[in-house]
Symmetry: C2
Subunit: 238 residues, 2 copies
DNA sequence: CTTGTTTTCTGACGCCGTGTCAGCAAGAAC
DNA sequence: GTTCTTGCTGACACGGCGTCAGAAAACAAG
């Protein structure tokens, strides 16, 4: 069923992982080249045009070799999603778990979020597009979003208890903010040419701050100070 | 290319449209039975399982007859979307264009919105799922959402000018609220068994009111009065 | 370098859903 | 009934998917 295979580590002496790339098994490099090819393709094409044939043409290997590494194109997307997930949760943890001025933490998190999505944006877009077509991927994607909803909800409630955020039902607000983020990030960075990092960050940040900590706090954030009157041009065509 | 055909109206005297169903051309009834079959299917199955063969089996006609009416499954979805669109804009116009107490208007609109989606929910879900797979449908879906974003943005700005809503950047808030609505409606009513109408309406309404008109106005709405402390159970598993 | 073993890759195959087409059947008008 | 139009059908070719047996390459040991 699954294409995964438990690989016995090669028993010889040389493959001890000390010399990075060149010392990896062939299969690991091939697998990576498929993942790279997919991302490359998705920078300029919608997911619906990603056929295995096309993909393996980019990777320079025969079509059937694909199935040595992934059981289908959706499993590949899942792999890409997982790799993005790691990066995102790292930057998100700043606001979700950090200590200190919450507005500052939020700014750091959103800044990082924008950076990650700017660099690997198509993954988000393609996974969102592909999810409805495959039950497994759909579940992963839903879980990914829900993890975020849960974390944000918890953090809001925590800050409400601390008097930093006014009391209201946290979850629907968390969902609204997260869906908004997803929508903006996907549309601004999901394909080349990409939108402007700063304006996207400012737009997202402003909405979060004003929703959670109050309109007056918006001005205290760095971007608020820097570009208080900037109309986020990029949000026009979104 | 397109399956559409300009049909000359039958020249005889009887088909004057006075006697509803039985007086329609055969082709119109068949077309409708396909649309009905699709909706029926989508109540219990995800869009990805909707194959033409399956669909025409339900409709009781041969597979190839499908192409007399639609060029492909996405054009069918577009037809369903258009029919839903009409209903939705009717109820939405209440808040978007009505006069009087805005909170009351909003309540009427959300109430209607919930009703429409409760009755024809799978359309929303299926179109959202199918959109990434087809360029044309993707455009229609995007346009549908954007029409809403535009209308809501305009209405917010109008109410801001009238001093009913505090000043803030209207568009991102409009987008966030709309995406939240879409998410909730799709997940609660997109398939059987459906969520609870009242709790969904209350959840949506509360968020809109508190975001636009202020937390204190929530209590003045009918549902706010009726169920001030109800935890919207349905938003748990969303 | 040669040999034997394991890993990786390939071409050919069958499957399934799509969309088209020529021609058959059913319905309407007379 | 006959004629003409409209609606329907089965058969076909196409393209992408996933599998498999066996070829080729990578690797370790001698």
């Amino acid at each position: 069923m699954s294409a995964k295979k438990v690989k016995k580590p090669i028993q010889g002496s040389r493959r001890d992982g000390t010399d990075a790339v060149s010392q990896l098994r062939k299969s690991d490099r091939t697998r990576q080249s498929i993942l790279d090819g997919a991302l490359e393709f998705l920078w300029t094409h919608p997911f619906r045009d990603l056929t295995i044939k096309e993909l393996m043409l980019i990777a320079g290997i025969s079509r059937s070799a694909f199935y040595q590494y992934f059981s289908d194109v959706h499993e590949l997307m899942e792999a890409l999603l997982r790799s993005l997930e790691e990066d995102i949760f790292v930057v998100a943890s700043r606001w979700l778990e950090g200590e200190g001025d919450p507005v500052r933490l939020l700014e750091e998190t959103m800044s990082g979020l924008v950076s990650v999505c700017y660099k690997r944006g198509p993954i988000l877009r393609a996974v969102a597009d592909a999810a409805p077509m495959d039950e497994r991927l759909e579940k992963s994607w839903k879980a990914f979003l829900q993890d975020f909803d849960d974390a944000v909800t918890a953090r809001i409630e925590q800050h409400q208890a601390a008097g930093l955020i006014k009391p209201f039902e946290a979850r629907p607000v968390a969902i609204a903010l997260n869906r908004m983020d997803a929508y903006l990030l996907i549309h601004q960075f999901g394909r080349r040419p990409r939108g402007n990092r700063e304006s996207v960050k400012d737009a997202i940040l402003r909405l979060w701050i004003s929703t959670l900590y109050g309109e007056e706090k918006v001005a205290t954030s760095a971007s608020g100070r820097r570009a208080k009157r900037t109309k986020t041009s990029s949000s026009k065509n979104s």
